[in-house]
Amino acid sequence: MNRRLLWPAVVLALLLLLNLFFTPGFLSIEVKDGHFYGSLIDILRFGAPLVLVSLGMTLVIATGGIDLSVGSVVAISGALACLAISQGTGVLAAVALAVAVALVLGAFNGFLVAVIGIQPIVATLILMVAGRGLAQLITDGQIITVTDAGFKVIGGGYLFMLPFGILLALVVLAATVFLTRRLALGLLIESVGGNAEASRLAGLRSRGILITVYAFAALCAGIAGVMVASNVSSADGNNAGLWIELDAILAVVIGGTLLTGGRFSLGGTVLGALVIQTLTTTIYSIGVPPETTLLFKALVVAAVCLLQSAAFRARAFPRRERPVTQPVQDTTEVAR
């Protein structure tokens, strides 16, 4: 467990050091207008939606599935919330509506995968493509701007001197950890991901678990969508959450969860999401030219993925790594 978290943590630390080198005050946090202010706070705040989406994605991937539709769900929920508020609905009702619709969309994904038996990548592709169109239908192709101060709090406001979004992400993280690690749910998810047929024979209702997991992923995406829309006080059906599903899958992989399903690491996922967000912020801070941004990102991500690979480490550092290879091989066995 700790070994798996080691490499993403090292990369995160290196990225922060790189920033410190270019921007001496990078790690400093000051109090401004009664709340914390600094680059680290920014990373957490802008990373909060990705952390949320990645948490849901972790559980989906742990069952051996994948959810490509989360980006569209982000757009739909943000669009719904803004539309409802612009038509005079209260903030809480609007947010509840957006999150509820997200939940229904997730259950629909789960239904396609668990009951109809469509492969997850195909089943969620439907909503990925159609959902983006749905979001544009809701916004009528426009950007809906809302000026509600209460709505602004969710993604752009503060509580206990911290951005509200960070706290919200922490609450969802805590709930997820509790549900999967204190209750049996985590074990059930891992067993379905490890071997669905064996789990069924052992008396597990894998259908229900699958639907729950997809609904949870969409729920997380729905909350993230409200957060993204609230942060800029507007809903952009075309761009909100665009490609976030890929970032989320990457965060899960960086965090050491295997795409083949089985064991998962929530801590690793959070770390992975933070690595991605720190990377983005680093690019802005040290001034990587936009033309080379993607190359820079690709190089860092490739490095992280290589470091995560036991086979690569065994070749690159033959002697020192022998004790590490053993436990990692164990996990792959469990996963299969």
Binding site: F22, T23, G25, F26, K32, D33, Y37, G38, S39, D42, F46, I126, V129, A130, R132, G133, Q136, D140, G141, Q142, I143, T145, G156, V228, N231, V232, S233, S234, D236, N238, N239, A240, L242, T280, T281, I283, Y284, S285, I286, G287, P289, P290, E291, T293
Partner: protein, 325 residues
């Protein structure tokens, strides 16, 4: 505008688009009944700018007594090619379209030429080497927009000794408006060494990215005098970041942006943005004029620039109420 090419994302709605090609046609008059018929293929409805563009074309056609056959390509080139072919079959008098992408138009344009139907490009260009395939290209000059932004800044900071530290929020990397607006701006301010572009990053033409990038700029670059954003949306996002940093947008940091959409004009009137260069979608009336000239076999210039203006804060307050988009 080129900014919202989400063809990939919309790929799945293609089927819907294909069947709805003829759906948006206005009027059911028999073709050729003495009235001029125009076939117009729009990129999509991806932004408020684009919707205003569509509306302008539809209204201008009505006012000019031209029958419009309108189709929405949902940001897919094949839809657009299909629409143009169907216009050729219907023997319309003129075809106008905003190409989704720059390349791949030669075949279908040759078919139009063989059928003796003149073609007018609007808003976006094609890269065909054969310039006889279309009559004219009507659209904004993005380089000129960048120049206008630069000129205002040189005028505004004439009395300042400098240095003037500028941060730039670019549009989507590689898109024509981003490249050209950057080039035009750099060309004007490049003549005076007191102007320094201290940071320049892409904000993908979106509010969310504009805010995120500006947050990072504010921390990595302590002394920012001017923000140049390639569109209003990024400027609006950046305004939130600047306010969050305890600074006053428009005062502590002057903001120049391009587009003049309604939310942007509101911010300009509120004093948060300092200056906006217009990039107008309202090219309907000009398009109808050109159409009439082309059909009357008059000579038209190969490139017609959209009539556009610029707005200061004072001007914004005056025109705000009458903005259409």
């Amino acid at each position: 505008m080129l900014k919202k090419i989400s063809a990939l994302v919309l790929a799945g709605v293609t089927a819907v688009a294909l069947t709805s090609c003829g759906k948006g046609e206005s009027g059911a008059a028999a073709p050729g009944g003495g009235k001029t018929i125009m076939g117009f293929s729009q990129v999509g409805a991806e932004s408020g700018w684009r919707t205003a563009n569509t509306k302008s074309v539809q209204e201008a056609a009505k006012a000019a007594g031209i029958e419009l056959k309108f189709s929405d390509a949902q940001q897919k080139q094949e839809n657009q090619i299909k629409a143009i072919r169907s216009y050729i079959q219907q023997k319309v008098d003129v075809i106008a379209f905003s190409p989704v992408v720059e390349s791949g138009w030669d075949t279908v344009l040759k078919e139009a030429k063989n059928a003796n139907i003149p073609v007018i490009l609007t808003d976006r260009a094609v890269d065909s080497t054969d310039k006889t395939l279309y009559k004219t290209f009507l659209g904004s000059d993005f380089v000129e927009e960048g120049r206008k932004a630069g000129k205002w800044l040189t005028e505004e900071s004439k009395s300042e000794a400098g240095p003037v530290n500028i941060v730039e929020l670019q549009g989507t990397t590689g898109s024509a408006p981003a490249n050209d607006r950057k080039a035009g701006f750099a060309e004007v301010i490049g003549s005076d060494p007191k102007f320094k572009v201290v940071a320049s990053q892409t904000g993908d033409f979106t509010r969310a990215k504009g805010k995120e990038v500006m947050e990072a700029f504010l921390k990595s670059t302590p002394d920012i005098d001017v923000l140049y954003a390639h569109n209003d949306d990024m400027a609006l996002g950046a305004i939130e970041a600047i306010e969050g940093a305890g600074k006053v947008p428009g005062k502590d940091i002057k903001i120049i942006s391009v587009d003049a959409v309604k939310d942007g004009m509101q911010a300009l009137a509120d004093g948060k943005i300092s200056y906006i260069v217009e990039c107008s979608p309202l090219l309907g009336p000009q398009l109808m004029d050109l159409t009439k000239k082309v059909l009357a076999k008059e000579e038209v210039p190969a490139r017609v620039v959209t009539e556009e203006t610029t707005f200061t804060q004072e001007q914004a307050k005056k025109v705000l109420a009458s903005r259409q988009y």
